[in-house]
């Protein structure tokens, strides 16, 4: 087992609500680690609508999804939160001493007094293409991301998709793969023009094969792919394939949150509206992931929940200490924490 990271609070999900929780918790001296499966902060705002304007953030008549994320990052900077991206939280277990162990799919373990689930609509996960039987090959010869390039050396690689991930990996893997084919449903790509140009240069030189169409079938045994069928307007062709990389974007799936023994209401975590604590003391849920009577899935509601949750979290981390309510405008001690006094 890898080394254990100790902290006051682990926040699962670095969407807008998880980010703002760092601020509220920080005012009460609670140190946070945030874990997110995405490669950057912002959750839905950054992944689904970075350029779209939001009109109902108080005092911001108009701000984009990315703009809001950037502002939140600036606001929480004084509290030096630690981010762990590209990781999914898979396990959450209470220890005999009452603390929690939070584990990621990368094998890290965090020991924490309080857990804040700010998992939104669930973790973003790659979409699985509608190819019959694809599940049987996943993890052995079908991958949704490249974690180790060596897995692709001297293999017959098939990349499906027309976005930046598809093209970047086509360019990166081509030199080490035995053969590399790109399949996309149309001749246009939504990717950096430079990558598109480079790929077509490789196609002209015969180093990359490009097929217009969709993957309709896979064959192989024991999880090991041997060929793929490509359906195009003119009919079907079968090509040798030992590694498949489909890039069809992301979708939100509740994921492991459902397995942590918490009371759920239609796939949302039930909370008490005074503290936003779940059915397990010490585990809180805020933002889109929670449910209580009257819940609205608004960023604004998540911010409010973060403030109330903090009061209860503080009492768990520092038992016996009086929780003093203060304003940032007038409290010098809060201003010191913010680095402005």
């Amino acid at each position: 087992m890898s080394e254990i990271t100790k902290t006051d609070v682990v926040i699962i999900g670095a969407g807008p609500v998880g980010l703002f929780a760092v601020f509220e918790l920080g005012l009460y001296d609670l140190k946070c680690h945030l874990i997110d499966i995405l490669d950057r902060p912002g959750g839905q705002c950054a992944e689904l609508y970075p350029e779209k304007p939001i009109y109902d953030i108080p005092a911001w008549p108009e701000i984009s999804g990315q703009g809001l994320t950037d502002k939140l990052m600036e606001q929480i900077k004084p509290f030096a939160p630690q981010f762990h991206f590209n990781r999914m939280v898979t396990r959450l277990e209470r220890q005999p001493d009452g603390q929690f162990h939070v584990e990621t799919d990368e094998g890290e373990v965090f020991e924490t007094k309080v857990v804040v689930i700010a998992a939104g609509g669930g973790s973003f996960q790659p979409k699985r293409p509608p190819v019959p039987g694809i599940e049987a090959f996943e993890g052995k010869s079908v991958f949704y991301s490249v974690r180790r390039m060596e897995e692709f050396r001297d293999e017959d690689v098939l990349i499906v998709g027309g976005g930046d991930s598809a093209l970047d990996w086509a360019l990166n893997l081509q030199p080490i793969a035995r053969s590399l084919t790109v399949v996309h449903r149309r001749a246009e790509f939504r990717a950096a023009p430079d990558s598109v140009k480079k790929m077509f240069e490789l196609v002209e030189r015969g180093s990359v094969r490009f097929e217009l169409g969709q993957v309709s079938g896979l064959t192989g045994e024991g999880g090991q792919l041997s060929s793929a069928t490509i359906k195009a307007a003119e009919g079907e062709t079968e090509i040798p394939v030992t590694r498949l990389l489909p890039f069809f974007g992301l979708t939100m799936k509740l994921g492991p949150v459902a397995d942590w023994g918490l009371n759920l209401h239609e796939n949302l975590v039930q909370v008490n509206v005074e503290t936003f604590e779940t059915s397990e003391p010490g585990i809180f849920a805020i933002g889109d992931i929670n449910w209580y009577p009257g819940k609205l899935k608004l960023i604004l509601s998540g911010f409010h929940e973060a403030a109330l949750m903090t009061q209860a979290a503080k009492r768990i981390v520092s038992p016996g200490e009086k929780v003093v309510f203060q304003y940032t405008t007038s409290s010098t001690s809060l201003q010191k924490k913010l680095g402005v006094a």
């Binding site: 689904l48 609508y49 979409k127 509608p130 027309g162 969709q214 069809f248 974007g249 979708t251 939100m252």
Partner: protein, 106 residues
């Protein structure tokens, strides 16, 4: 106003009244049409509101714009009749529209 018929993958027909100016996706969600997820709420950012426009209606609904065409890359089993239902605006012209829901969205 337009009447829209959604045909689910199992062949069930669901009829809905849609207001001019709203989107076909909104009418699917309001009528709980199974198989339309619309995760991004109509932002043309998720491709989970994918439908096939019935052959008879493709000329009226027209072609997807560039942004929608890009997003369709992330949909499953895309065909020439594929559209993202959040990008089809309802008008009187669409009265009687028939769209088919694909096997799955994600």
């Amino acid at each position: 106003m337009a009447k829209i018929t959604f045909v689910t993958f199992d062949g069930v027909r669901i009829e809905a009244d849609a207001e001019n100016g709203s989107t076909v996706m909104e009418s699917a969600i309001r009528n709980a049409v199974p198989g339309i997820d619309a995760e991004c709420g109509g932002a043309c950012a998720c491709a989970t509101c994918h439908v096939y426009v019935d052959d008879a209606w493709q000329e009226v609904t027209g072609e997807p714009e560039a942004m929608e065409e890009d997003m369709l890359d992330f949909a499953y089993d895309v065909r020439p009749s594929s559209r993202l239902s959040c990008q089809i605006r309802v008008s009187d012209e669409l009265d009687g529209l028939v769209v088919h829901v694909p096997e799955r969205q994600a």
